[in-house]
């Protein structure tokens, strides 16, 4: 079939819009990346656009030599791995039993969980709870309180529900207990959803800072990377890193800010495109039953 001329013009407009979209999404990150690789002098002259001027890795070496920053990176990485493992364990333990229709009390538990999605107590009641549990200023306050997301649990549950019941029933007849069924039948079939939800949890933890700011304000050594970045970005002139190294020429702090931002961003930018196929599927599952 020959395409009509108007449809071809339409195609061109659509492609143009998409190119524009790519530029709008990509250029801000690219520009900061380029700045992080430019010399402070070029930044002061403000003529760094799309390619590094006077290529310079000093900012990176300064940031990576800063003990506070590198520790925050390493600590946040450990925290992210730990939180993701815990969250996935809780999510699976919550979602799996709820797919058994014979389970008595299933509806009540489902309701108990759903209510928390639409109504929450608020920040101060949580603060009082954390205080009672001695979690204030403890790193555990970044681990426990938000370890299970209802939204992610629903995605998990929907995925498990879509696995044919016959598989489970035949295993039950063979005398397998629910735990065996979970480990040897369901989990091997769920790698894609596990990858997706792990990504969601990991990104959430890596990017989060509000809980540390509110509930762990006095425990500076355990600040996550984003909170440290917040203070770096907000600082008007020189960063700790810059002053410590006796490096405080104008523009240097700009380069350091750009480098600090890039170092914390690059890990995520490297990972997410590989998981694209999975998370599209995951979001779609959430939408079906959410």
């Amino acid at each position: 079939m020959v395409k009509a001329k108007s449809s071809k013009i339409g195609d061109i407009i659509i492609v143009a819009i998409c190119v524009l979209l790519i530029l709008i999404c990509f250029l801000p990150v690219w520009n900061v990346f380029v700045r992080s690789l430019s010399s402070p002098a070029a930044l002061v002259r403000s003529d760094v656009y799309l390619w590094p001027k006077e290529f310079d890795l000093t900012a990176y070496s300064l940031v990576l030599k800063d003990a506070e920053y590198t520790w925050a990176l390493a600590w946040t990485a450990m925290l992210t791995v730990g939180c993701t493992l815990l969250s996935m364990a809780l999510t699976i333990l919550c979602a799996f039993p709820l797919i058994f229709e014979q389970l008595k009390g299933r509806k009540a538990i489902n309701a108990l969980i759903l209510v928390t999605m639409y109504f929450n107590a608020g920040t101060i009641p949580s603060y009082i709870l954390f205080k009672n549990l001695n979690l204030i200023n403890s790193p555990l306050v970044m681990v426990l309180p938000y370890s299970l997301s209802v939204f992610n649990m629903i995605i998990m549950r929907t995925f498990l529900q879509n696995i044919p019941v016959s598989l489970r029933e035949s295993a039950e007849i063979d005398g397998a207990n629910p735990f065996r069924i979970l480990v040897s039948i369901y989990l091997p079939l769920s790698t894609s959803v596990i990858a997706t939800l792990s990504l969601f949890y990991a990104v959430g933890r890596w990017n989060g800072y509000a809980d540390a700011l509110m509930f762990m304000n006095r425990n500076k050594p355990f600040y996550p990377i984003q909170l440290l970045l917040y203070f770096i970005i907000q600082s008007k002139d020189s960063v700790d890193a810059a002053t410590q190294e006796g490096f405080s020429s104008p523009g240097a702090s700009d380069a350091i800010k750009a480098a600090s931002v890039m170092i914390a961003t690059i890990p995520i930018l490297m990972i997410y495109p590989w998981l694209q196929r999975f998370f599209i599927h995951g979001v779609t599952l959430g939408a079906m039953k959410g």
């Binding site: 058994f100 009540a108 426990l144 509000a210 509110m214 800010k257 750009a258």
Partner: protein
């Protein structure tokens, strides 16, 4: 609490030993998750009473004294507090603008992506469009400062080189509001297309073929086939966003704000943080948080009722 005890009772009530033998493990698995919800979600709900009581750091919420005016002292105080009234205004302004621009954007983008004739290019566009969703608001605020700052921001350098006047994107309250809204759309538009694109795959292709035979133009096909196919998804997401209309996230305004624009950037979450966590007016901050949650639920329920009135499926 009731659900857990009920769940425990049902084990006992299950008169066949078989049932217990077969399923006790499922309850064991649920133990930790249910404990999580009770401890971290339901116990704080009982602390909402702090909103009606005089906060004391040494007492448990159950033992605190009742507040004046039949317990409503802090609600009255909130509504005569200028900061609070501004915070309500700012929250509504930012959320409503966010809804007006942020809600249709992914629908339009999904329609555009759906019309894109080159699968590979479509994939690349999607990958790049999803990227902002993975950046933290701290990082986005860092990007925004580097790009939009009045003197050294890239955009203003370009504007000045073109002989135009620099724009104070972040330092002038009205401009800040638009920057905030734009950054929100920027961050979420690509990600939010995923749901719509998934819904689009559910539309029967024969409809398009029939329309093509009838000589329907591209826009007519979008209007008569694609949009109706998205209808129920759009309504459900709209209900959910309306439930968020007075809700306020913390990460985004806190990361993007600066001292020059607090008159428009102080939203309810920041009010609660300033008064209840940095300050010592815990009862007032609890009252504000409770007010926010209740209004949110009311909006959600009304939006759902309206949707069902119009014969839509709704959330429940």
């Amino acid at each position: 609490m009731t659900a857990q005890t009920r769940a425990q009772k049902t084990i006992g009530r299950g008169n066949s030993k078989m049932y217990v033998k077969r399923y006790w493990m499922l309850y064991a698995m649920l133990l930790l998750p249910v404990a999580y919800f009770i401890i971290f979600k339901y116990v704080p709900m009982t602390y909402i009473q702090v909103a009606f009581k005089k906060f004391s750091i040494t007492k448990s919420p159950w033992d605190m004294e009742w507040a004046k005016n039949g317990g409503f002292e802090y609600f009255i105080k909130a509504f005569s507090n200028r900061d609070f009234l501004y915070a309500v205004r700012n929250t509504l302004t930012l959320n409503i603008l966010g809804l007006i621009f942020g809600f249709p954007a992914p629908i339009i983008l999904a329609l555009i992506l759906n019309e894109l004739p080159y699968p590979r290019f479509k994939r690349i566009t999607q990958t790049v469009a999803y990227m902002p969703h993975f950046l933290s608001w701290i990082i986005i605020s860092g990007l925004a400062l580097q790009l939009l700052a009045t003197r050294f921001g890239l955009v203003n350098i370009v504007l000045r080189n073109m002989g135009l006047e620099a724009i104070q994107f972040l330092d002038k309250p009205t401009n800040w509001v638009w920057t905030y809204v734009f950054l929100g759309v920027w961050q979420s538009v690509g990600w939010n297309t995923i749901i719509y694109l998934a819904a689009l795959t559910g539309i029967n292709p024969e409809l398009y073929e029939a329309a093509a035979v009838d000589g329907a133009s591209r826009l007519r096909k979008i209007w008569h086939i694609t949009l109706p196919g998205l209808r129920s998804t759009i309504i459900i997401l709209l209900i959910l966003s309306l439930g968020q209309i007075i809700g306020s996230e913390f990460d985004r305004p806190f990361a993007l704000t600066n001292t020059l624009v607090t008159s428009v950037s102080n939203v309810l979450s920041i009010f609660v943080y300033n008064y209840g966590i940095k300050g010592t007016q815990q009862s007032l901050a609890t009252a504000v948080g409770f007010f926010q949650s209740v209004i949110g639920v009311i909006f959600l329920i009304s939006a759902n009722l309206i949707a069902r009135r119009f014969d839509e499926r709704g959330l429940w």
